[in-house]
Symmetry: C2
Subunit: 350 residues, 2 copies
Amino acid sequence: MATPTLATVAKLAGVSTATVSRALQRPDKVQPETRRRIMEAVAATGFVPNSQARNLRSRASRTVILLVRDISNPFYLEIYKGVEEAAVEAGYSVLMGDARDDDQRIQHYVDTVRARHADGLILMIGRFPEALKAEIPRLPPIVIALETFPDIALPTVRIDNIAASREAVNHLIGLGHRRIAHITGPMPERLALDRLAGYRAALAEHGIGEDEALVLNGDFSLAAGRRAVRRLFETDTAFTAIFAASDQMAVGAISELRARGHHVPADISVVGFDDIVLADAFEPPLTTVHQPRFAIGRQAMAQMIAMLSNKAPATTPDILMETRLIIRGSTGPRHGVARRSRLRGHVSSA
Amino acid sequence: MATPTLATVAKLAGVSTATVSRALQRPDKVQPETRRRIMEAVAATGFVPNSQARNLRSRASRTVILLVRDISNPFYLEIYKGVEEAAVEAGYSVLMGDARDDDQRIQHYVDTVRARHADGLILMIGRFPEALKAEIPRLPPIVIALETFPDIALPTVRIDNIAASREAVNHLIGLGHRRIAHITGPMPERLALDRLAGYRAALAEHGIGEDEALVLNGDFSLAAGRRAVRRLFETDTAFTAIFAASDQMAVGAISELRARGHHVPADISVVGFDDIVLADAFEPPLTTVHQPRFAIGRQAMAQMIAMLSNKAPATTPDILMETRLIIRGSTGPRHGVARRSRLRGHVSSA
DNA sequence: CTGAAAGCGCTAACAT
DNA sequence: ATGTTAGCGCTTTCAG
């Protein structure tokens, strides 16, 4: 049996296709009795409107693409849920795409929107491809979430990474730590730069001199956390605490510390960033910066809906969401000189 | 500036729209010189074919929906990647949807396919909604991954849950454990039933009697793992090992055991299922059943492509993927009577 | 090898 | 309140 179309339903209900269309779109514009007959026919035929045709005609797909840096990072899932909830309420669908930090893939998703497969793009990627900058005038509606691109004026929903990092590092300083290492995000990116800036601000505030050996490049991954700790030992750098720019790196760092016989937080304190789901089940439970992921997702979609409804405000919105430092078991007071030298001993014997 | 269409390009290149379409679809059917002019015009206008119109005409969307039980379970992300890779190779796109164990949402996604938004559906959900069973004759192409529905003949890609669970429990028995608890998946589901069956088979094989107090209902979540351990203590049930039907539950269980002062694996051994990303960074590193997630995703998409190309084999394929027990730090030999009674003491004092 | 013309299924004007 | 008509942008016969 062929797929039923508007015409199938129209014939069965004894009305024109236009009336069926109206009964489905604006039920109040059609007589109750007619509507009833039409609905009956719809049910009888199992009719589902062909969205391709509908969208072709109405020049909108009511779909939005959420493009993330790396889909295998569970961090984005909670954001997706926020986006999806706001979307469904407004009658939109959400499609999640994986950018994998690859310009080609990003371009592909932009083209998907240009091909009218989706109406807009919510970007959570670290880089804005050069090739796209040239196309800005003819780009589809875009909202940036979590990230920021300084020279590009697009609606943005983000957190204050500098302030959040400062608070995290201040927590460590408050516990007596002075030799605090920082594992950064992928490096020339705003996100990573801001968290580093927050780290530096906290140190400066307390008159603690910087030591470049304490700053390790990372990329948010578990492996990067392990690598950073290894490097600290290889370079004989003394430290009593670590501030990692992501929970995954914090977990990697703790795992490597443990492998080398150091205890967290007894010997070394560790702070993460993100508050991933497993953060409080981890041993030790992670002290970390909580981001309101769900709310960020909702806000981003709200901005997108505003753009798509042409309710665009005069100025480009830049919405700041609140973060919160959650203190759990992975941080503790710095230990006395004895322990410090014990650590030093380990280091030099490495 | 309006979005360029075929006509825009055609005019610029001085040819008909049909020729432009051909140049894009089957370049060999058009003269090299003409083709070159057309490509130039495409580049100049920034033309991207409108997929709605194309699909409306060609009656295919080249998109597949991957519908998962719960999108916030990172377990599915690796599968998504496998699906996506196979899809991209064949010129398909993938859309990931969140079923949340809700019949309405599932129906919505089926309708999305019926609305020609997608060509097929890869299902990784625990229940096949009753309402859908009636519609089976007019359902779109569907592939089932990970799960199975006994009375429904659809192409399936899965693992042997019974054998995998048996192997996991045998490992515990080999370490000397006899009082082994099992935390199940969501309960009347095939997946949960099979893992329970494997658990029972291993016990039977070694003449170990069953104790219903050792079987706890779960739902794959971290919280369920915690709850199960609490219940074991509340009911005064002696045990020296736990086999959890998911890593998340294993992590929850370990976290609760620790909170009650028990050490893993010194006092209690724990085995999980899935081998999630954090399994080996966890403390202790999790002994667990590894599933070839990426390969499962690829296979599922391969089946889907076969269905969509009408290369459907005579019989409904049921593809079994290999699992592997990975032994890490969360399991160890059962301790002597002394420790056992120490545990008992804890229990009775609870 | 290329062009003219029809039409995929729907919605938006316009007419009644 | 409902029907008629004309396309949305593309692919696909069918001619030439």
